[in-house]
C-alpha cells in the first residue's frame, strides 16, 4: 500500500457533518509541515475551508496561506476558461461571455461536463508538477463518485472532439495508486458508517481511483477498562456516592452521570466501528482521530487533527 502522504493527489470525502473539511485541512497542514509544496482545494464554493486556516476566503486563484501551503476554491467557469486557454489554445474565445453561458447550460444538462472541468484542473496541477501534493476537500459522498468517474462518463457521452482527447491523461493520473488516492471520512455512527461502506463499494465499482485510507473522526476516549468499569459501577451506588458528595461538599451525581454518558455513548458506537473495520479491505489503513473537547474550530483544531493523523501514520 502506498503511504498516504506519498500520493500527489488526495481526494477527501465523507457524509455531511463528519468533519471532511477538517480532515482535508489537517492533511494539507501535515503535508506542508513535512516540507511538501501543498495545494489545498475546496470543491464547494460555499465551503468554509478558510475558517480552518483562519485566513481570508479562498478563491480560484491559488494563494499562499502558510509556509509550503497554498489554497484555492474550485470555480468551474474559471477553470473552463483556464482549460480552454491552456489546453485547447483558444485564448480569444476563452474570454467570451456566451461561451461561458453555453457552458453553464450544457453543464446543467450534461452531467460530467462540470465534473471533468473540476477534476481536470486538479489533475493538471499534478501533471504539471506545480505542487508536490494536492489535497482536495472533495464533494460529499453522494457526489464524489460522479466527479471521479467523470472522465469515463465523458468518454461515453462525447464520442469525438477535443474534450474526448483530454480524458486519457486524466484517467492515467486518477487511476495510478502511486499518484492518486481517496480518503473517506466517517464518524463511528450508524449512518456515516453505512454510507462510507456503500461509498467504498461504489468507488471500487465505478471509478479507477484507489482508496488510500479511511479516517474515523471523533472517536470518544475509552474511560475505563473492564475491571475499572466494575469499580465505577460500585462508585455509582448510593453509599459511595454519599461519601463522595460529602468529600466534594456538592452533589456528585452530575459528575458520575457525565462519565456514564461517555461510557454508554462510546459503547453504542463500538458496533459501528466494528462494522466499518469488517467492511473495509484490511490493506486500507483506518486512521483514528479522537473527539476534540475544545471550543475552537479554527487553526488550533486543524493542528490537533493533523497531530492525531501524524501519530496514526507513524510520523
Amino acid at each position: 500500500m502506498v503511504d498516504l502522504l506519498d500520493r500527489r493527489l488526495i481526494f477527501v470525502t465523507g457524509k455531511g457533518g463528519v468533519g471532511k473539511t477538517t480532515v482535508a485541512a489537517a492533511l494539507a497542514a501535515l503535508a506542508a509541515g513535512r516540507g511538501r509544496r501543498t495545494l489545498v482545494c475546496e470543491i464547494d464554493a460555499k465551503g468554509n475551508m478558510a475558517d480552518f486556516f483562519e485566513t481570508a476566503p479562498t478563491q480560484f486563484e491559488e494563494r499562499p496561506i502558510a509556509p509550503n501551503l497554498w489554497a484555492m476554491s474550485m470555480d468551474t467557469e474559471a477553470s473552463l476558461r483556464q482549460y480552454l486557454a491552456l489546453q485547447l489554445h483558444l485564448p480569444v474565445l476563452a474570454a467570451i461571455g456566451p461561451l461561458a453561458r453555453m457552458f453553464d447550460f450544457v453543464a446543467s444538462a450534461a452531467p460530467g461536463v462540470r465534473e471533468i472541468v473540476t477534476v481536470g484542473k486538479l489533475c493538471w496541477e499534478v501533471r504539471e508538477r506545480h505542487y508536490d501534493t494536492v489535497v482536495v476537500d472533495a464533494s460529499a459522498s453522494g457526489h464524489i463518485v460522479s466527479q471521479l468517474s467523470a472522465p469515463q462518463a465523458i468518454n461515453q457521452l462525447v464520442q469525438v472532439g477535443l474534450v474526448r482527447q483530454q480524458t486519457g491523461w486524466m484517467l492515467d493520473i486518477l487511476g495510478d495508486p502511486a499518484t492518486t488516492g481517496l480518503v473517506a471520512v466517517a464518524t463511528p455512527d450508524e449512518m456515516p458508517v453505512s454510507e462510507t461502506l456503500e461509498l467504498v463499494g461504489r468507488v471500487r465499482a465505478e471509478t479507477n481511483v484507489d482508496l488510500a485510507a479511511v479516517v474515523v473522526n471523533r472517536v470518544l476516549p475509552e474511560l475505563f477498562s473492564r475491571s475499572e468499569e466494575a469499580l465505577f459501577g460500585r462508585l455509582e451506588e448510593p453509599s459511595a456516592t454519599a461519601t463522595l458528595d460529602a468529600e466534594l461538599a456538592s452533589p456528585s451525581r452530575p459528575l458520575l452521570d457525565a462519565a456514564r454518558l461517555m461510557v454508554t455513548t462510546r459503547r453504542s458506537r463500538t458496533e459501528h466501528l466494528e462494522r466499518l473495520r469488517a467492511g473495509t479491505d484490511p490493506a486500507v489503513p483506518l486512521l483514528y482521530v479522537p473527539y476534540l473537547f475544545i471550543r475552537s474550530h479554527g487553526l488550533r483544531a486543524t493542528h490537533q487533527v493533523a497531530d492525531a493523523l501524524a501519530a496514526e501514520l507513524g510520523y
Binding site: L93, L99, V106, M191, T264, R295
Partner: protein, 392 residues
C-alpha cells in the same frame, strides 16, 4: 382551544403545529437526524391526531424501513402495519404510511405524464443525457422531491405529509428548484441552442458559437443535447405549469417548514442560514428541532466547581473511598480522575452548544430539544420514544 395553542393563536408545540398543517417539510444539513425526526414526528401525528399520515424520505436507509416494520419501501407508499404499533404498545388513532423517493422512477413518471405521445416519451427515456440527469445527479433530486410532494398532496389521499428533504449543502437549492426548473425550460439560450437542429438552417448569428462548441465537444454530443432539449420542449408548458404549482404549494398556508439541526458549530450555522432564507422568502417556519443536545446538568455551575475539587483532590478522596469500594487506592484515584475529566470535557462541549443555541437569533415559536439517545433507533417504539421527547 387546541392543546399547545396560545391565546394569540400562535403555536408552541410540534403537537399543535402538526395538528394545524397538511404538509411538513423537514430540512437541515446532513447527519443531524432529519430522516429520523421526520419519521418520529409523522408516527406521533398518526398516533395522536389520527387520519392518514405519510412520511416521504429521500434517504434509502434500510434501517428506517426496518424500524417502521415494512422491510423496504419504494416510490409506492406502504402502510406501516398496525402490528408494529401494537409491538410498541400503542394504539394509533390513524394510519402511518411511508414512501421513499426514487428519483429515477419519479422522473420517468413525470416524462410519461407530460410527453405528448408515446414515441416522444420513448425517445426521451432513451436519450443518454436524460438518463444521466434522471439517474445520477443530486441536483435533480431537489426538484423531483418537491414535485413528488405536490403529486402526493394533490392525490388527496393523506391528511398530513411529512417530507424529508435531500441533503443539500446549499439550503436554498430545493426550495428554489421549482423556479429554476421553470427558468431552465423557458431560457432563451435553450432556444438558441436548438434552433439549427430544429430548422436544419444554421442561424448565421450562432455559427461561430457552433464552431467552437463543435470543436470542443464534437457534433454527436451537441446533437444529443439538442435532441434532448427539442424533446423536452414538447413537455415545456406542462413542466412549467407544474413547477409553478409546486412553488405555490410550498408557500401555501397549509405548508410549514421544520428545521432540524444539532448544536455542533457547522450544522447550527447552516440551520441559522436556513431559518433566515426561509423567512426572507416568506415560507412558514414552524419549528426548530435540535437533536443530540447534551444534558443540562453539564452546565450546572456547582458541577464545574465539584469537578475541579474532584480532580484536585483525587488522592485524599481515593484514600477515603477505597475501603468502601473494596479496591486499592491507585485504582480509585484513576477512576476519580477520569470521572472529573469526563465531566470537564463534556462541559466544554455543552458550553459550546449553549453558545450556539444563544447565537440562533431568530428562532421559530416552537423549539424542541432531544438528547443523544443511547441506542440507535431500531423499531417504531424507538421512533415514538424520540417523538415523545419533542412532541409537547
Amino acid at each position: 382551544m387546541a392543546r399547545g395553542t396560545r391565546a394569540d393563536g400562535g403555536v408552541r408545540s410540534l403537537d399543535a403545529l402538526y395538528a394545524a398543517k397538511e404538509i411538513v417539510v423537514a430540512c437541515g444539513s446532513g447527519g443531524v437526524g432529519k430522516t429520523t425526526t421526520a419519521a418520529a414526528t409523522a408516527a406521533m401525528a398518526a398516533v395522536h391526531h389520527g387520519g392518514r399520515v405519510l412520511v416521504v424520505t429521500v434517504d434509502p436507509a434500510r434501517r428506517l424501513a426496518d424500524a417502521l416494520g415494512i422491510g423496504g419501501f419504494g416510490n409506492e407508499a406502504r402502510q406501516v402495519p398496525p402490528a408494529a404499533f401494537a409491538a410498541a404498545g400503542v394504539e394509533p388513532r390513524g394510519e402511518l404510511w411511508a414512501a421513499m423517493l426514487d428519483a429515477r422512477q419519479s422522473w420517468d413518471a413525470l416524462v410519461r405524464r407530460h410527453a405528448p405521445d408515446v414515441q416522444t416519451q420513448r425517445r426521451i427515456l432513451e436519450n443518454p443525457l436524460y438518463q444521466n440527469i434522471a439517474g445520477k445527479f443530486v441536483q435533480s433530486h431537489d426538484y423531483i422531491a418537491m414535485e413528488r410532494l405536490y403529486e402526493l398532496h394533490t392525490e388527496g389521499r393523506y391528511d398530513l405529509i411529512v417530507v424529508d428533504t435531500p441533503p443539500t449543502r446549499n439550503a436554498v437549492d430545493f426550495i428554489e428548484a421549482p423556479a429554476r426548473m421553470a427558468e431552465f425550460f423557458s431560457s432563451r439560450l435553450l432556444r438558441l441552442l436548438i434552433v439549427p437542429y430544429r430548422s436544419r438552417v444554421v442561424n448565421l448569428a450562432s455559427r461561430p458559437f457552433y464552431q467552437v462548441a463543435d470543436r470542443i465537444l464534437g457534433s454527436q454530443f451537441l446533437s444529443d443535447i439538442a435532441e434532448f432539449f427539442i424533446l423536452f420542449q414538447t413537455m415545456y408548458s406542462g413542466f412549467v405549469a407544474r413547477a409553478r404549482a409546486v412553488e405555490r404549494l410550498l408557500h401555501d398556508k397549509r405548508t410549514t417548514f421544520v428545521v432540524v439541526s444539532t448544536l455542533e458549530a457547522a450544522p447550527a450555522h447552516e440551520a441559522e442560514f436556513f431559518l433566515q432564507v426561509l423567512r426572507s422568502k416568506r415560507f412558514h417556519v414552524g419549528a426548530l428541532v435540535l437533536n443530540r443536545v447534551l444534558p443540562p446538568y453539564l452546565l450546572d455551575p456547582d458541577g464545574g466547581a465539584a469537578a475541579s475539587r474532584l480532580v484536585a483532590g483525587t488522592t485524599d478522596i481515593a484514600r477515603r473511598l477505597a475501603p468502601l469500594l473494596d479496591a486499592d487506592e491507585p485504582s480509585v484515584e484513576r477512576i476519580l480522575t477520569e470521572v472529573g475529566e469526563a465531566y470537564r470535557n463534556l462541559r466544554v462541549v455543552a458550553k459550546a452548544e449553549a453558545a450556539e443555541r444563544e447565537e440562533l437569533a431568530a428562532v421559530p415559536d416552537v423549539v424542541a430539544t432531544a438528547p443523544e439517545l443511547d441506542a440507535d433507533i431500531h423499531d417504531l417504539a424507538g421512533l415514538l420514544r424520540l417523538g415523545m421527547l419533542i412532541w409537547n
